[in-house]
């Protein structure tokens, strides 16, 4: 058994910089590289892509990344765990094997973890007694069942460990927990069992710290003036010991900062009850551990505690929830805010003349630059900004009504007050709103499967 394992996360979400993982591979030692591509609405978008093209529905960015780094990956023997499979992990795997073929790499083992996608099993599971009541509101799924567009279980880390045990160098999953991408390799390397609650909690906490990439190494940090060289920010690297104790760091010479404060910022991100951070593998206690500086750009985390996992998986569903349209114009001064308010009133009045009225809950007016993000909060607004961005939007169940809004925005340039500009990008269009439906499902009803393929 290794006395420590080096795991880095190079992608915090789909759309994060490709330089993160490239530099992690290039600029220091690593055993594992993890990559998180999935947000809650991503699965629904992928499901839509797949319905148009049976070869689509996964994170194509991942395949592009592997195409750039495969020779280095193979030479260094770094293993990769990515949830890039989306709703079509086999298509993702096929694309990876094709990349390997083009590079002339044979014997590359790619594993697929599946079982998370339960869209086609929903009715059977409901017949077996699963209610899928909304975790936030308590509403039963039946009310929106016919509008569900994706349904995925957050799988745990053990199938990932199983894939690594079968010799995979690249593990492709669909929906799983973000920290599981890190916990899976630790289970594999150190032989942690399904009831090693404190160690599973430690691996989960380590995974949570790195899951948003540079958000723990100085990105999005309150005291931003103190963070050096954000342009060359180093993505996080974990040094984990068999006991579960670990150090958060980054490669030497990279930008950014790892301190107790930057790590704590990320620990507080997306936090609910800190004493009960629920995953399918464990209930991690974020009030249990100790954080301490361990040299420059190194933070040690020790004493993590966990409690037995619950008998359920979380399910993330998305459903068609109406339409929205948003557009913006820039209004220069003098009197920028007053003119922007007039512009907003003009748009609503013209639409009303044509028979389209939007209620207070169906429309949005923002005056970006006058203090929109913190409007109504002490110190958060300015009465006379030199210019503002007027942002208007509407939403509702009627697509035609939502679509009618867009064409009334740009005419303000010639038929509103002076100083209206910035209409590049054309008319705003109606876009479908993707509703989010969190629920639970009994673990025993969800079989998982691991398969290894070779180039």
């Amino acid at each position: 058994m290794k006395d420590k394992v080096l795991i880095a996360n190079g992608q915090g979400f789909w759309g994060d910089s490709i330089l993160g993982p490239i530099r992690l591979l290039r600029e220091g030692p690593l055993d594992y590289l993890t990559l998180d591509y999935l947000a809650e609405v991503t699965m629904s978008i992928m499901q839509k892509l797949r319905s148009r093209n049976p070869e689509a529905g996964y994170a194509t960015d991942f395949v592009a990344l592997i195409d750039r780094v495969l020779p280095e990956l193979v030479e260094k023997g770094v293993k990769v765990v990515a949830n890039a499979g989306g709703v079509n992990p086999h298509a993702c795997k096929d694309a990876l094997l094709e990349v390997a073929r083009r590079h002339g790499v044979t014997g590359l083992k790619v594993a697929v973890v599946e079982g998370d996608d339960i869209l086609t099993d929903l009715d059977r599971l409901m017949a077996e007694g699963e209610g899928f009541d909304n975790l936030d509101t308590g509403a039963p799924l039946a009310g929106i069942r016919d509008r569900v567009t994706s349904a995925n279980v957050y799988l745990g880390a053990f199938p990932i460990a199983e894939a690594l045990a079968q010799g995979a160098q690249i593990v492709v999953t669909g929906r799983g927990t973000d920290p599981g991408l890190v916990l899976g390799p630790l289970i594999h390397e150190f032989g942690w069992g399904p009831e090693d609650w404190d160690r599973l909690a430690a691996g989960t906490i380590a995974g949570h710290i790195v899951e948003c990439g540079a958000q723990c190494t100085g990105g999005n940090f309150t005291d931003w003036r103190e963070v050096p060289d954000l342009a060359m920010v180093g993505y996080p690297v974990l040094e984990v010991e068999p006991s579960g104790e670990f150090v958060v760091t980054k490669h030497a010479g990279t930008g950014g900062r790892v301190s107790v404060e930057t790590v704590t910022h990320q620990l507080a991100y997306e936090m609910g009850d800190p004493a009960r951070y629920l995953t399918p593998d464990v209930i991690a206690d974020f009030t249990s551990f100790r954080l301490e500086a361990d040299g420059e750009d190194r933070v040690r985390v020790s004493g993590s505690k966990g409690a037995p996992a619950t008998p359920t998986y979380k399910v993330s569903m998305s459903y068609a929830d109406g339409w929205k349209s948003v557009g913006q114009l820039t209004i220069s001064g003098p009197d920028a805010l007053a003119k922007a308010r007039l512009c907003a009133a003009i748009v609503w009045d013209r639409l009303a003349y044509d028979g389209f009225e939007y209620g207070p809950d169906e429309r949005l007016e923002e005056f970006v630059g006058a203090g929109e993000c913190h409007a109504g909060i002490e110190g958060g607004t300015s009465a006379d900004p030199p210019e503002v961005v007027l942002r208007l939007g509407v939403k509702g169940p009627d697509k035609a009504k939502v679509a009618r809004f867009g064409p009334e925005l740009v005419p303000l340039v010639t038929s509103g007050p002076p100083g209206v500009t910035g209409f590049a990008g054309g008319r705003p269009k109606a876009q479908e709103i993707i509703g989010y439906w969190p629920a639970l499902v009994t673990k025993e009803r969800i079989p998982t499967q691991v398969t290894v393929f070779e180039s």
Binding site: D136, Q266, A268, C373, H374, G393, V394
Partner: protein, 118 residues
């Protein structure tokens, strides 16, 4: 007592959580944590954020990290992709909280390093 912005004695990180957001407030010292644990109540946060958050506020404590975590239950103008707002994910809610003005005892300020550059 000196009147300062919360920013003087705390840092913050926020993001979306369902139809609301969470804002973690990170005290800059043990003295600041003890002061905030007593005075930065859920009710105080609810009042300060009332223009943004239409729902309730729940507070959790993590003294090992010197963090007070606030859940703003209805602060995004709709969950999922339904929000029309610029800050549909509550990324700026932590900074909004740091604008709060508080009367802080001098000894707490003396024990709490100020942020560089104000």
């Amino acid at each position: 007592m000196p009147r300062v912005q919360l920013h003087r004695i705390a840092q913050a990180r926020s993001g979306d959580k369902g139809e609301g957001s969470n804002a973690g407030i990170l005290a800059r010292s043990e003295a600041a944590y003890a002061f905030l644990a007593e005075h930065l109540t859920a009710e105080r946060v609810r009042t300060h954020m009332a223009a943004v958050n239409l729902g309730g506020v729940v507070r959790y404590e993590a003294p090992n990290m010197r963090v007070l975590n606030f859940l703003l239950e209805d602060s995004l103008g709709g969950g999922g992709s339904a929000s029309l707002k610029t800050d549909a994910q509550g990324k700026t809610h932590g900074l909004a909280l740091l604008r709060m003005e508080l009367e802080v005892p001098q000894e707490v300020l003396d024990a709490t390093p100020a942020p560089v550059g104000g």
